[in-house]
């Protein structure tokens, strides 16, 4: 803490931590093990789930913060996913030499450039979206939902205009294809990368939210916007910043998601947005930790049921959501509000 006096910490009551929800993930994984049968398949599915969960988290974290901070539910978030992916593709295609090269460093450099382009592009777009679409309807939920939905339609259509409507291949760099084998288990490289990215985003976010003044302001703003303003902070600027960051994260997540599927269409955002909504609902609107946990749960559920009973895979996530909402109607980690 940035204080010169360090008060006594002897008789501090312990901070209660609510860890119960954290145990759901390992329980689901353990229950799935005998059902799946083969341990190697189970490991593959679990890693795939963690990778998918990471990508969903990257996308959902921005949305949940935007909602928490400013009470704005941006249905247009899905457009940033798709646009990010298209921008990354636009960068990757001319770099095909690097993408197909055998040198991992060139592969990663191409990927890094693509991700940067996607994040800058979607960040800038987020800035414009906030100004044009969202700003006039603060505090009006109904209009917000309608307007951001309209924004989503327009953005998706513009993708068709700019990039064409047909399905495009998304070039996955050579060095990220295939798997690393550890004993009997095959760990796909790209999935490991996705997990690493997801964890990094999560850790950086936690550090920012807990250790920096901006992070404290965001958390305080999620709880009580008016009071933050009454302390003299211009929360509008903070919000624009979070909106840009959240959009950029959607762009990053969209890039990863498209690489994972190796193809992309303008509808790519819509497919994953459903899971993203489920994640932020079960996580607790506005909660980053809940969002992370929710993403993992949803992805585990989707991957296990996708293997065990592919036809009802989507329904299983709805059931998961229903079960969690019956247990905790505000989600796993509800955010305190005035």
């Amino acid at each position: 803490m940035a204080t010169t006096s360090s008060p006594a910490t002897t008789d501090l009551p312990r901070t209660p931590r609510d860890l119960l929800p954290v145990f759901i993930a390992p329980i689901i994984a353990l229950v799935a093990l005998p059902l799946v049968g083969s341990p190697t398949t189970w490991v593959t599915l679990t890693i795939a789930a963690l990778a998918m969960g990471s990508m969903i988290f990257v996308i959902a974290s921005g949305l949940t913060l935007i909602f928490g901070l400013m009470d704005v539910l941006n249905f247009g978030h899905g457009a940033f996913i798709a646009i990010g992916a298209y921008m990354a593709m636009t960068v990757l295609v001319p770099l095909s030499g690097w993408v197909q090269s055998d040198a991992l460093s060139l592969n990663l450099a191409a990927l890094l450039l693509a991700v940067i382009a996607a994040m800058i592009g979607t960040g800038a777009l987020g800035w414009a979206f906030e100004r044009v679409i969202v700003r006039p309807v603060y505090g009006q939920h109904l209009k917000q939902i309608l307007i951001t939905m309209g924004g989503l339609i327009v953005a998706e259509q513009l993708i068709h205009v700019v990039w064409g409507g047909d399905q495009k291949p998304m070039p996955l760099p050579n060095g990220l294809r295939g798997a690393i084998t550890v004993g009997d288990f095959a760990l796909e490289k790209f999935r490991l990368l996705a997990v690493a990215v997801g964890l990094t985003v999560f850790i950086v976010m936690q550090l920012v939210l807990n250790r920096t003044k901006v992070g404290l302001l965001i958390r305080a703003g999620v709880e009580n916007r008016e009071m933050v303003e009454a302390l003299g902070y211009r929360i509008r600027q903070l919000f624009v910043g979070v909106f840009i960051a959240g959009s950029a994260l959607a762009g990053l997540g969209g890039t990863l998601w498209a690489l994972y599927r190796e193809t992309l269409t303008a509808a790519i955002g819509g497919d994953i947005m459903v899971l993203v909504f489920i994640v932020i609902i079960i996580g607790g609107l506005g909660s980053v930790g809940g969002c992370f946990l929710g993403a993992i749960l949803v992805a585990l559920m989707a991957n296990y049921t996708g293997y065990l009973a592919p036809k009802i895979a989507v329904a299983s996530n709805i059931l998961l959501m229903v079960a969690i909402l019956m247990w905790r109607p505000q989600g796993l980690y509800p955010v305190a509000r005035r």
């Binding site: 940035a2 006096s5 305080a220 303003e229 009454a230 305190a336």
Partner: protein, 241 residues
């Protein structure tokens, strides 16, 4: 007489379709503690919120230190060194006491001497420094809320019913704190229902009813005039003592 620090002239405030403040004229003299009294629903909280810019005034002028602040954004008003302790206290429950204070010190880390002074006034804050503010008791939250408002030197502090639901022992501490603030020449506008508490601190007093100021004068005069008290505050005294 010197120009007052804050004055409201004919201020009207609408919340949605409801016309809440109906022409408030209020004067807060420099360096004094002004008490705003009135029964429940009179519009006291709305007045403070209007001053802070949390509700925009629909008519009238609000002048602070010579400049008109009506209709400005809340952060800009707060930056004129106006502190606000809302009725709901507004502590950030998810943040620790330390983090709450860190945010309150907008211009930089809180100064050690000032923190010690605050810890002197409210020792509980020191004990629970690293505890999430949501776990504090109601009285401790109130102390934190006041502490936040004074961690940086302020020209004016708006305080909304700090004694609501607070034990007498802690009220004594609060009286001491406010007296200290007065000594430091901080102007205070205090909304209060507890007349004894108000009378022990107030220099001037204004009484509101139905969105208007119905009486203005010195606290001394009001405290001495029980007939006037009954007429103005009969209801609230009966209800709150």
């Amino acid at each position: 007489m010197s120009e007052p620090l804050l004055s409201l002239e004919g201020v009207h405030t609408h919340i949605g379709q409801y016309h809440i403040l109906q022409g408030v004229d209020l004067v807060v003299p420099r360096g004094e503690l002004t008490v705003l009294l009135g029964r429940n629903g009179a519009g006291k909280t709305t007045t403070l919120r209007t001053i802070m810019g949390l509700w925009p005034p629909s008519r009238g002028t609000i002048t602070f230190d010579g400049q008109s602040i009506g209709g400005r954004a809340t952060p800009d008003i707060a930056r004129l060194r106006i502190g606000y302790v809302p009725e709901s206290m507004g502590v950030f429950a998810d943040l620790t006491v330390a983090e709450n204070m860190r945010l309150a010190a907008r211009l930089g880390p809180p100064d050690a001497a000032r923190l010690d002074w605050i810890f002197g006034l409210f020792p509980a804050l020191k004990r629970f420094w690293q505890l999430p503010a949501g776990l504090l008791s109601g009285g401790q939250k109130q102390m934190l809320s006041i502490a936040r408002a004074i961690v940086e030197p302020k020209a004016l502090i708006l305080i909304d019913e700090p004694t609501k639901g607070i034990a007498p022992a802690i009220i004594e501490g609060m009286i001491a704190a406010f007296k200290e603030l007065k000594r430091a020449e901080t102007t205070i506008l205090l909304v209060e229902q507890n007349f004894r508490f108000a009378a022990s601190l107030g220099d001037t007093v204004a009484v509101m009813d139905d969105g208007r100021i119905v009486h203005r004068g010195t606290m001394e005069a009001l405290a001495a005039d029980s007939v006037l008290q009954t007429r103005l505050l009969g209801l609230s005294l009966a209800a709150h003592q």
